[in-house]
Amino acid sequence: MTTATASHDDHHHGPEKGLMRWIKTTNHKDIGSLYLWFAFTMLLVGGAFAMGIRAELLQPGLQLMEPQFFNQLTTMHGLIMVFGAIMPAFVGLGNWLIPMMIGAPDMALPRMNNWSFWILPFAGGILLSTFFMEGGAPAFGWTFYAPLSTTFAPDSTDFFIFAIHLLGFSSIMGAINIIATVLNMRAPEMKLMDMPLFVWTWLITSFLLIGAMPVLAGAVTMMLTDRNFGTAFFDATGGGDPVLFQHIFWFFGHPEVYIMILPAFGVVSHIIPTFARKPLFGYSSMVYATASIAFLSYIVWAHHMFLTGMPVAGELYFMYATMLIAVPTGVKVFNWIATMWKGSMTFETPMLWAVSFVFLFTIGGFSGLMLGIVPADIQYHDTYFVVAHFHYVLVTGALWGIIAAVFYWLPKWTGKMYNETLAKIHFWWAVISVNVLFFPQHFLGLAGMPRRIPDYSLQFADFNLISSLGGFAFGASFFLLTYIVIDCIRNGKPASARPWPSAKGLEWTLEPKAQYHSFNKPPSRALIEAESQNS
C-alpha cells in the first residue's frame, strides 16, 4: 500500500506539523507529553476543588456553600485526582520513559496508544459536565457506595458511570500496550532482570490494571442496571446487598491504590542511587517485593470494610493479610535507605523529592498499618485520620514520585535544565505546606472528626484552620511549579546528555533532548550491562 509505505519513510524525519500532529500521533513522546499535560490540567482542576473544600472547612459553620455542593466537591476532587491526574500522569511517564529505558524505538501498539490517550479528554469532559446538570454532580464520595449511588443519586450519575467506563477502556488499553512493549519491544540483549525498576514496576502495575479495571467496569455496569433497568444487585428488597457493591468496588479499589504507588516506587529507585552515587541496594529483592505487593493487593480488599459488617473470621483474615503487605514494603524502604547508607549524597531537586518521598510515604504507610488493625480501625474508620493517611500516600507518595520524575527526566525531555534555585524554593515551599495541610488531620481524626462533612464542632476549629492555611499555601506552590517547567522549556540552559553524572540507564545514552524515535537499532549487550541497575 503506497500511502503506508510512503508515510512510513516519514518517521525518520520527525513529527508532523500543526494541530493534527497531536490528534494523529503514534509517537510515544508526543503521547507521553499529552498525557502529562492532561494530568497536570486535571491536577489543577482537582486542586481547585480541594481549595473549595478547605475554604469551607477554614472555620466551623457553613460559610461558602450548601452541604450538597460540598459533597459534590469532595466526590469530584477524589475522582478527578485518581482517574484524571495520578493515573494519567504515570501512564504519561511510562510512555515517555519505557521505550527509552528498554532500548526500543516506540511503544508496541502505537495507534492504540493514541486512542488510550484520546479517550481521556472525552471521559473527563463527561465527568466534569455533571456539575452543570440538574441535581448537580455526583455527591456520594469517590467510592460511590450503593445505595447512595443507586437509589438516592441524581440523574447525572449515569453520565458518571459512562465516564468511568471510558476511563476504564483507556487504562486497560494503556496497560496492554505497556505489557506488549516491555515483553516484545525490549532490546533483544536485555534480559528481564536487566530491566530498570521503573520498567519493572510499570509492568507489574499493568497486570494490576488489567485485573482490576474490568471489575470496576462490572461494578458500574451493575449500578447502571440497578438504577435504570430494575436489577437487584445492590438492593436488599430483591435479594441483593449494598455490601456486595463494597466488595466489588474494593476488589478493584485496593489494587488501584498500588496502581497509583508502584510506578512511584520505580521512580524513587532510579533517583536515589543516582544522587547517593551507589548502585541500588537489593535490585532483585526490589523486583520480588513489588511483585509480592501486587499479589497481596488482590487479597486484602475488605480491610476497607471492617465496619460494614463481616464475619469475625473474615475480619481476622483481612487484618493479617493486610499486615503482611508491610513486609515487602519494608524491604523496599530498607533498600532505599541502604542505598543511601555511606553514599556521597547530594541533594539536587529530584533527590529532595525522592528522599522526602521515602520519609513521608513511610508515615502514610504506618498510618495505613494502624488502620489495618481491626480494633483500632473501629475508632479511626471514616474520620479525618483516614483522610490524612491516604493523602500521605497519594500526595506525598504518588504525586511526589511524579514530581520527582518530572525534575529528574525534564532535561532528557526538553534538552534543557530547569532553574535549580527556584526548584529548591518550590520543593521547600511544597514540602512544608503539605505537612501543615495534612499532618493536623491525623489529630482531627483521632479526636473524632468525621470525613466528608462541611461543618464541625468547635473543638476541631484550630487544627482545621491550620490545615486550611497549609492547603492554600500548598495549592499556590503549583503556580511556581508551572512557571519552573515552562521556564525550563522556553529559557532553560542546554543540558548535557547525562545531566546527572552518576545516573544509569539507556535513556541517558540518547541525545540531550531525546530524539523523536528513541532507538532505531537495539543497543548492544555491553551498553545494556554498563547501564544496568542490577550490578
Binding site: M1, K24, I126, H165, I210, A217, G218, T237, G239, I248
Partner: protein, 310 residues
C-alpha cells in the same frame, strides 16, 4: 519489511473518531434513559460512528498486513495485545460471577436469617430464602413494613411479579435447551479447531466448510438462547425479578453479546479466508478470533454450571 527494522505505524484519525463515536453513544444512551426524545437517535448515531471506526481501523490494519508491511515483531505485539484483552474480558465476567456467588452464598441466606441476623423475621416475615425464587415476596409486604417504621422516606418498589413457588428445575431446566446449547458451543470449538488445522495444511475448501459450520453452530446457539429467554420470560423470570433474574440475565446477556460479536468476527474471517488473506504460517487474524471464540466457550461452561445447573 525486513526483520531487523522496527515498524511504527503512521498516525490515523481512527482513534479520535472512535472517541467521538463512543462519547456520542454514551451521551445518547444516558439521555435516552432520562427520557430525552433525541437520546435514542444520538445513541444510534454514536453506534454507527463506532462501527464505522471499527471497519476503517481494522480495514487499514488488514490492508497493511496484506501488503507485507508487518514483521514478526508486530505479529507478536498483536498476540500479546489480544491475549491480555481476553484476560480483561475474563475479569469483567468475574465481577458478575462474584456477584452471583456472593448473593447465593451470603446475602440471600443472610436475608433468610442465617447466622445471627436477628432482624430478618421482623422485617421480612413473608420471606424464606431460596436462591432461584427471589421475586417471591407478596407485593407490598416489605415496602409497608419499612414505611411504617418511618426510617426510610422513599423506597424502591418491590418487584411485584415473581415466580411464586418456583423450584430450581421449574425456573430453567438445565438439561433442556441449556444442555443443547452447551453441546452446540463445545462442538463449535471443535469445528473451529478443524478449520485451523485445515488452514495450516493449506486446504481452503475445508477451512471454509469448517468455518461455515462454526458460524452455523454459533447462530444456532443464539437462536436457542433467544427461544429460552422467551420461555424464561413467559414463566416470570425477568431482569426485575430479584437477584437471580439480575445475575441470570446479565451474565447470559453479556455472554450472548460476546457470542454475537464472535459470530461477526468469524464471518469477517470467513470473508478474509475466501479473499486469500491467510497462509499456513501467517494468520494471526484467524487465531485471534479463535482465541476469542474459545474464551466465549469457556465462559459458557461456567454459566452452564453455576447459573443453570447448580
Amino acid at each position: 519489511m525486513s526483520e531487523q527494522e522496527y515498524y511504527i505505524p503512521d498516525g490515523t484519525y481512527w482513534p479520535i473518531i472512535g472517541s467521538i463515536g463512543l462519547t456520542t453513544l454514551f451521551v445518547g444512551f444516558a439521555n435516552q434513559m432520562h427520557g430525552a426524545e433525541w437520546g435514542g437517535s444520538v445513541m444510534v448515531l454514536g453506534f454507527a460512528i463506532t462501527v464505522f471506526m471499527m471497519f476503517g481501523w481494522f480495514g487499514l490494519v488488514v490492508n497493511e498486513s496484506n501488503n507485507g508491511i508487518y514483521n514478526k515483531q508486530v505479529d507478536r505485539s498483536f498476540r500479546w495485545g489480544m491475549s491480555w484483552f481476553i484476560f480483561s474480558e475474563v475479569m469483567f465476567f468475574a465481577a458478575f460471577f462474584g456477584a452471583l456467588f456472593y448473593a447465593r452464598q451470603l446475602s440471600v441466606p443472610w436475608l433468610g436469617g442465617a447466622d445471627n441476623n436477628i432482624f430478618t423475621p421482623d422485617l421480612w416475615n413473608a420471606f424464606s430464602a431460596s436462591w432461584h425464587q427471589m421475586a417471591f415476596m407478596a407485593p407490598g409486604s416489605v415496602t409497608d413494613t419499612v414505611l411504617q417504621s418511618g426510617t426510610v422516606m422513599s423506597f424502591p418498589a418491590v418487584p411485584a411479579t415473581g415466580i411464586e413457588t418456583a423450584t430450581p428445575a421449574m425456573v430453567v431446566d438445565p438439561w433442556g435447551l441449556p444442555a443443547l446449547n452447551t453441546a452446540l458451543l463445545l462442538a463449535s470449538g471443535v469445528t473451529l479447531t478443524f478449520a485451523h488445522h485445515a488452514l495450516r495444511a493449506g486446504h481452503r475448501n475445508q477451512i471454509v466448510g469448517w468455518l461455515v459450520a462454526t458460524i452455523a453452530l454459533g447462530v444456532a446457539f443464539l437462536g436457542f438462547q433467544i427461544l429460552e429467554y422467551g420461555h424464561a420470560y413467559h414463566d416470570g423470570l425477568k431482569l426485575t425479578s430479584g437477584i437471580y433474574g439480575s445475575t441470570f440475565y446479565m451474565l447470559t446477556g453479556f455472554h450472548g453479546f460476546h457470542v454475537t460479536v464472535g459470530v461477526i468476527m468469524l464471518t469477517v474471517i470467513l470473508y478474509r479466508v475466501q479473499k486469500g488473506h491467510f497462509n499456513a504460517d501467517n494468520h494471526f487474524g484467524f487465531e485471534g478470533v479463535a482465541w476469542y471464540w474459545h474464551f466465549v466457550d469457556v465462559v459458557w461452561l461456567g454459566l452452564f454450571i453455576f447459573v443453570y445447573w447448580l
